[in-house]
C-alpha cells in the first residue's frame, strides 16, 4: 500500500509538471525590412506626328489656290489664321512642346531618384 501511494504521488507529480519540461517556447518576433515594390512603368511612347501642309492665301492668289485644290480633288475650303494668329499658334505649340519636355524630364528625374538602377 505504501509503495502504491508513492507511485501514485510520483505519477501525479509527473502529470502536473510534465508539460513544463523544457519550458514554454518563447515567441520570437523579428522584423524584416522589405522595400516597396517598384512601379517600373516604361517611359511613355514617343509621338509620331503626321505632316500637315500650310497654304498661304492672299487676295491675289486666292482663285489660283482654290482652282488647284479643286483640280487635286480636295474640297475648295481652307481654315485660315491671320499672320498674327499664326505667330500665336507657333508660340502656343512651342509652349506645349516645352511643357511636354519638362514633364518627361521630371518623370525621368523622379525615376532616377526613387528607382535607381541596381548595381550589378
Amino acid at each position: 500500500m505504501y509503495h502504491i501511494n508513492k507511485i501514485f504521488a510520483l505519477a501525479i507529480i509527473i502529470l502536473l509538471t510534465g508539460c513544463s519540461i523544457g519550458g514554454e517556447k518563447k515567441i520570437k518576433i523579428f522584423s524584416v525590412e522589405k522595400p516597396r515594390e517598384k512601379l517600373d512603368y516604361p517611359m511613355p511612347t514617343a509621338l509620331q506626328l503626321e505632316e500637315l501642309k500650310w497654304i498661304i492665301i492672299t487676295s491675289e492668289n486666292a482663285q489660283e489656290v482654290f482652282a488647284k485644290l479643286e483640280a487635286a480633288g480636295i474640297d475648295p475650303v481652307l481654315f485660315g489664321v491671320t499672320d498674327k494668329d499664326y505667330q500665336v499658334l507657333s508660340r502656343n505649340f512651342a509652349q506645349i512642346r516645352q511643357k511636354l519636355q519638362e514633364t518627361n524630364n521630371l518623370l525621368e528625374e523622379y525615376k532616377k531618384y526613387y528607382e535607381p538602377e541596381e548595381k550589378k
Binding site: L47, D83, L100
Partner: protein, 151 residues
C-alpha cells in the same frame, strides 16, 4: 572556528566580486559593440543623405538649365518673326511661295521637336549636327545636343 567562517565568507565574497566584475565586463563589451554598430549605421545614413542632397542639387541644376533653354527658344521664335521690323504678313504677300516653303519647313521642324520632347530617339544626323545650317532651328538645344551656338 570563527576565523574559518570569516575566511570562507571572505573567499566567497571575493569569488562573487570577481563574478560580478566578469558580468560587468561582458555587459560593457556588448555595449561597446552596440555603440560601434550604431556609429557605423549613422555614418551610412549620413553618407546616404549626402548622396541624396547631391542628387537633388544636380537635378535642380538640370531643370533650371532646361527652363532657361525654354525661355531662350521662345525669344528666338519671337525674333524670327520680328527681326529687323520684319512683318511676316507683308512678306507672305510679297513672296508667297517662298514664305509658304519656309513655314512648311518650320512646321516639320516644330513637329519633330514635339516628337523629341515626347521621348523620341535622335537620328544620327541630329546628333552629328554642329553647323547652323544642319540644325533644327525650332529647338536646337533639344534636337542637336552637340551644336554650340555661335557667339
Amino acid at each position: 572556528m570563527v576565523i574559518t567562517l570569516v575566511l570562507i565568507a571572505g573567499i566567497a565574497g571575493a569569488g562573487m566580486y570577481v563574478m560580478k566584475l566578469r558580468s560587468d565586463n561582458a555587459i560593457l563589451k556588448a555595449n561597446q559593440h552596440k555603440l560601434e554598430t550604431a556609429i557605423t549605421e549613422q555614418n551610412k545614413v549620413l553618407e546616404q543623405q549626402k548622396q541624396d542632397f547631391t542628387a537633388i542639387l544636380e537635378s535642380n541644376k538640370k531643370l533650371n538649365v532646361l527652363i532657361n533653354t525654354f525661355k531662350k527658344d521662345l525669344q528666338d521664335l519671337d525674333k524670327r518673326f520680328t527681326k529687323k521690323n520684319r512683318d511676316i504678313g507683308k512678306l507672305a504677300i510679297d513672296r508667297t511661295k517662298a514664305i509658304e516653303r519656309i513655314i512648311n519647313k518650320a512646321g516639320v521642324n516644330a513637329a519633330r521637336c514635339i516628337e523629341l520632347a515626347s521621348g523620341a530617339e535622335h537620328t544620327p544626323e541630329e546628333l552629328k549636327a554642329t553647323l547652323k545650317s544642319e540644325i533644327n532651328p525650332e529647338c536646337p538645344a533639344l534636337a542637336n545636343p552637340n551644336y554650340v551656338p555661335y557667339q
